[in-house]
Each structure stands twice: as C-alpha cells, then as structure tokens.
C-alpha cells in the first residue's frame, strides 16, 4: 500500500518534470518546480511514516522549506529584477523536446529493468521514474539557452536524485542530506547572483554571450 502510494507520488514528480519541459514561461517553470519539490517532500514524509525514522521527517521539512519556499522565492526575485523581456528560449522546440524526452523515458525504463538494486527496497518501480527525472533535468540543461532555465534543469535533476535516494532505500544519512541541501541552496543563490551580474554587465542574459568570453 505504501509502495503504491509512493509510486503515485513519483509519477506526479515525473509528470511535473515533463510539464517543466513543455513550459514556455519562466514564472510558470518556477511554480512547477516548487510543486514538484512539494511532492518530493511529501514522498520523503510518507517514507518517514512507513519506516518511522526521525531523520526523514527533518529531511522532508528541510525540502519543504528550502525547495518549495526559499529557492522559488529567490528565483522569482531574480526574474523580476532581471526584467527578462523574452521568455524561455530553446535550441530544440517544445514539440520535438517532448518527443525526445518520451523516448529517453522509455529507454530509462528499459535500462533499469536489468539493474539489480539489492538490499531492502520500498518501491522498485520508483527507480526508473527517478532516473527519467534525472535525464529530463539533464535534457533541460542541454537544450535551454538561458542560464536561469539551465538552473531550473539542474534543480529538477537534483530532485530526481533525492527521490531515488529516499524511496529506493531509506534515504541517505541525515548529515549527507543536509550537506546536499546546503549545496543546492548555495548553488542556487550563487547562480542567481552571477546571472544578475552578467545581466548588468552585458545586458543580454544569454549563454551565447558568455561563449565569446571563453577564447
């Protein structure tokens, strides 16, 4: 029963990740991310109930605090401040992205069928889902032009890892998870600050401008 429920939550996370691909508004993207993080937090909480482990409650609470409230809030502020005129720009248009991502999801489901997870498994079916989310996050990072959307891709990827870690086993040790949270929040803050500064200096927030600095 628990495992079915966790699987359902995992499915929600995946659907939201796909929705993330199809979104063409920045604000909407951030909102989708916040909702996705909420579901991740929920799944951690449910696993905590199931295994009655106090660490997981703390982990769920931190997820809720950081990923659902602080990071989306920072991103909103950053977007407002940057006054982005054009919304999400992609190298691959949304329709094609969806086609590609669906095939990637199928591949990841096929691949994970042969992976022997071992150990105590709460839900074996959640593993292909979280792998798909990781790939979707990576795909967002590859295909989106703006750094801020790449940041969202990275955060999605991180959610996928979190989902896999907590639902396949009982999560990582608390200290590691806190470390990850810290990394994520620092990363997000740094990214927004840097993006902001690039915006101020070159007045066009686009990776392609950064390319020119490289050589």
């Amino acid at each position: 029963m628990f495992s079915d429920f966790i699987e359902l939550i995992g499915a929600f996370v995946l659907v939201l990740a796909i929705l993330q691909i199809s979104s063409d508004r920045l604000f909407f993207s951030v909102k989708v991310y916040a909702l996705q993080s909420f579901f991740v937090a929920l799944s951690i909480f449910v696993i905590g109930l199931y295994s009655s482990s106090n660490d997981l409650y703390i982990s769920a609470f931190l997820t809720l605090l950081i990923k659902v409230i602080i990071i989306p809030f920072t991103l909103f502020e950053a977007i407002k401040e940057m006054k982005i005129k054009r919304e999400i720009e992609t190298y691959i248009n949304i329709t094609n992205s969806l086609m590609i991502i669906s095939s990637i999801i199928i591949i990841s489901f096929i691949l994970t069928r042969y992976i022997d997870l071992g150990g105590e498994i709460i839900s074996k079916k959640i593993f292909p889902i979280s792998l798909s989310i990781i790939f979707v996050g990576a795909f967002i990072m590859v295909s989106r032009k703006k750094p801020i959307t790449q940041l969202i891709g990275f955060l999605t990827l991180e959610n996928g890892i979190m989902l896999a870690a907590t639902s396949v086993t009982y999560g990582m040790p608390l200290i590691v998870e806190i470390g990850i949270f810290f990394d994520v929040i620092v990363g997000a803050t740094m990214a927004t600050i840097i993006i902001h500064h690039i915006n101020e200096t070159v007045d066009d927030i686009d990776e392609r401008t950064v390319e020119n600095f490289e050589e």
Binding site: Y91, I107, L111, Y114, I115, F135, A138, F139, M141, V142, S143, K145, E207, R208, V210, E211, E214, E215
Partner: protein
Amino acid sequence: MDFFIIFTLLPILFFAKPRVAFIVQTLSSLSLIVFSIIHLINHDYLTFILFNSLINGADFPIRLDALSLLFVIIISTISAAVSIYSINYLYDEDYHHKRLFAFIYTTFIASLIFVVTSFNAISFLIFWEIMSVLSFFMVIYSYKNEENKKGGFIYLFMTHLGTAFITLAFILMYKNSGSFDFNDWIHLSLSNTTKFWVFLFVLIGFGTKAGMFPIHVWLPKAHPVAPSNISALMSGVMIKTAIYMFVRFYFYFLNDIPWWYGFIVLIIGSFSALFGVMYALAQHDLKKLLAYHSIENIGIIMMGLGSAMLFFYAKLNILAAFALLAALFHTYNHAIFKSLLFLGAGATLLKTHTKDMEKYGGLIKLMPFTTLFFLIGSISISALPPFNGFVSEWLTYQSLLLNNNINIELVKIFVPIFASMLALTGAFAAACFVKVIGVSFLGKPKSQNSKKASEVRFYMLFGMGILASLCILFGLFPNIVIKMVSPVSMLLLNVNIASFASSKSLFISTPNFSFGHITTLGLALSFIAVLAILYLLVKKFANTQTRITPTWACGQIKENVNAQYSASGFSQPVRRVFAFFYNPKEGVKKVEQKSKYFFPKKDYIATTTDGIETLYQLISKAIINISDYLLKKIENGSIHIYLLYIFLTSIAFLIYAIQGDF
C-alpha cells in the same frame, strides 16, 4: 667479471675533471679491448648478474658471448680513439659545462657497452633508453641553436617510436616464452604469424635507430648538429647497436625463418644504400653529407645481413657465415672510418667555424695531417683497395653473388640487380668523396675563415691517427678481423669461418664455391711497385726541372677564388639527371644591393629536398589539420554541448553496464 664492470664504469667517476675522464676512458677502453679479445680467443664466455632488482625476472644479467664481445671491441676501439681526440676538442671548441659534457660522454659509452651485453629484455630496454636519452642530450647540447632543437626533437620522437616497436617485439617474445631472459629466447619456436610480427617489429624498431631507409629522417638532422666527437660515436657505434640486435634476433632468437625475411632485409638494405649515397652527393654541409653516408653504409651492412639470412634459410651455413662475416666486418669498418671522418669534419669545423663545404678550400696546406687522415677515411669509405672498406665491400659483393646458390627464382632474378645497386652505390660514394676532398681540401681558400685555419692540436691528431692506421691495418691484414668474427659464426651458425675465408694467410677467399681469392697486401705491394717503377722511369727519362708558377686559369688575369670548382657545381649533373628524385631548386638569389641599380650581390642557391621528409611533413600536416578540425567541432566553447557530452556519456555507460544482462 669485476674487470669488466670496473673498466666500464670507472671513467664516469672522473667526470669532475674532464681531461682525466677522457684519459681514463681511453685507458679503460683499451683494457676492455684486451679483455674482450682474450675472452674471444679462448671462447671463455662469462655470465654474471650486474645487480639483482626487486622485481622478479627483471634482474640485470650480463652475458659476454662472442657476439657481445665483438661489439664491445667495436665500441671500445672507437671510444678509445674519440676520447683521445676529445681531450683537446672539448677545450678548443670551448663547450660550456665541461663537467656535464664529460659526465654525459662517459655515461653514454658505458650505456653503449651495457646495451650490447645485457641479457634480459627489461635491463636491455633500460640501457637502451639511457643510451637514447643521453645521445639526445648531446644532440641538443648547444640548445640555443634552432637547428639543434629541431634535430633533437625529431631524434627524440623517432627514437621513442622505435622503442615502442622494440617493446612490442619483446612483449611478443615474452608471451611465447614466459620469460624476459634472453637465455629462454634462444631459437624459440613461434607460430608463423607471431614470427612475422616479431620480425617486423624488430626491423622497424631497431631500423629506426639504425637509420634504415624509410625511417631515417632523424639521422641527417640529429648527427650533424651534435658535437663532432659525439657525432663520431653516434654514427660510428650507436647505430651499430641496432645491427647487433638484428643479428641477435634473426640468427639467434628466431628459428626457421622463411626466405622472404632475408629478401625484405636485402631490399631495404639496397634502397638505403642507394638512397643514402645519392642524397649525400647533393649535400654541401660536410657533416650532413657524412650522416647520409651512414644511411648508405647501414644499407650495405643490411645487404650482407639479408643475404646471410637467405643462406641461413637455405641451411647453407658456411655461406651464411661468410655473408655474416661481410656484414660484421663492414660494421667494424664503418665504425672506424665514419668516426674518423666525423672527427676530421670536427677538426675542420673547429678551425673554420662553418659546416658549409663551399666555404672551405685549400685546407691541405693549412691542415696537412687532418687532410691526410680525412683522405684515408675517404678512400676507405669509397671502398678502394688496399683500405679496409674495400675488403668488406668485396665480401658483401661476393656474398650477394653467391646468393645464386639459393633455389628460389625471385632471389636468382634479383641478385644481379642488388649487386649492381651496390656497385652504383660504390661509384656514387667515390664521386662524393672526390667532391669532398677536391672542394674542401684542395684549391684555394674560399672564405676568410678557411684562410685563417691552422692545424689542430696534438691529441686531436692522435685520435684521428689511431683510426686512420686501423683503416690501413685492417685493409692490409683483414685476417685479424676475420679471426674476431669467427667465434661469432661459431656461436650462431656453428661454422668456423676463419678456416674457410682465411685459410691461406694474407689471402681472403670465398668458401668452397671458389669465386676468388684476394690479397690486399699483395695489391698494395704491387701498387707501390708500379709507383716506384713509374717514379724511377720519370726520374730517369723525364725533364725533372721544376718551376713554380701560379696555376694556369684559362687566361684569367684577376684571380677569383669563387671561380673554382664548387660542391654544388660538382653534383649539378647528377642533380639534373635525377631531378625527379632530388626535386632540386636552383637559382640566383639577390642577397643585398647597395646602390640602386648596379652590382647587386647575388648568391647561387641549390637545394634538394629529401622526398621521404616531404612525405613525413605531409603526414604530420594532415594529422594536425584533422585534429584542428575535430577540436573546433568537438570543443566549440558552448556549455550546452559540453553538458550534452556528459549526458550522452552517462547514458552510454548505463547501457554498457547492463548490456551483459540482456
């Protein structure tokens, strides 16, 4: 065994005092010669461990068998003479860091000796690399010159390419014998494919060091820029270590070689010989010319070696020993006269400060002894009797012609062609040294530098004198060398070649199929007799009144030294005839013009390009272009693309990780 190690390593200890180091090197080289000859004659072959290493099966065993001892003698002969030469040379040429020079020099010689005596693949490779790297250091000793850096780089690249192939051959041998010890490799029976690969890797790997035809490019670049005494050692003995390993592998380690192995060596040898001498003819940089001659002589040695392999295949052991004698004799001879020539070139370079033959001229009056020794070396390398080069080339001819005894049509067809290629090589070599002697030592000085030249100091002359007298000695009494080579043929082919080739003292003769006998002493005596008769006749009948006047120069009133025959002028007909081969560029180039319209100063430029070098350049250019293109395509500076690589790689690894489970 203690003697051997002490004599080999002792000179290194004295590096802080270069002069003492050179003297000690000379003395210990002489002791090594005596030591080796005694052991060679008594068939007393030592085996001992230099030191045990921590790795199992990778000790440092030394085995002094006949072949090793012969090469120790060759190395020590040259190093003794070159060390005497160096006593003055190092200070007169004034190389900086003299102690470093002495250290590298002595260690280099020690490494050469250990290369030819090591009896384990690992220790061999270690000494081989020490030898290569030290010679690289000597090539770039004057590292501030662009030419040195370029030559050194090419040398370093090529020598490591060679070592890679050598290592491959050793690994193949190890896989089939289960040991790195050379003792376990003797007459190892391999499958045909493995044998072919071993043959090929050995040929390429050691051929690179020897300066074999298509992989010789480093040799004319590295040898000329090294200090002259090092050039003498490199050209004289270092490239011979490759010949040593050819003999070791093809006669001692491999078993039942097919006929076409020898044929391939023969083909490559004949091409090297012809190619080397033709390019030598077109050079007017003296040391570069000598370097190209090294390629030629390696070719001649390989021709002897190839025909020996053919006989070895046909189980005609006596003839095989005869051909091997030709190859090894020529190895020794080439070591002697090539070192002599390089030392002579070093002496002229020291006094004239240029390697360009066009700027010499008239050195015979200023440096009479150097010229004499250089002349002896030139006659030897041109294979004229009664000097030593003649004997070994005669032996090579005979062994080539004797190849007719092998019952393979292809060999029978090609043997006359190879023999005629060798003949052509000899003719070109003679022409080449007529050019060198005529242009650089005769005539009148062509530049200020050569006008100021003077005779070099005593020890330099002494070093050259030793080698020159060896040229004459081995030319007149070739049986000395035949006696030295005989134990080698005993070891490898179980034939005492001395009893066939020098059965009559002072004669050398071809074994049982009596093609002929020859006695160089007799030739020399009859030559002297004819000269004496001529002299007496002239004295008796001719007008002996002498008058001293300037040479008649076709009515030219004002003397112009540039009107003399020049090196590029001498080789011009050959350049024209073989234009397809040399790809020459000739013409007049304006150097400077002081007044606006009149009397521009012009230089005549004649250059030839080495076709193989052009090929190498094309290959390297293609590789660089492809890499550039791929670099621009793959690493194009877009973060998205880099992310995509990570993404695709992780998917690929996932698929790879579970593919076994499908």
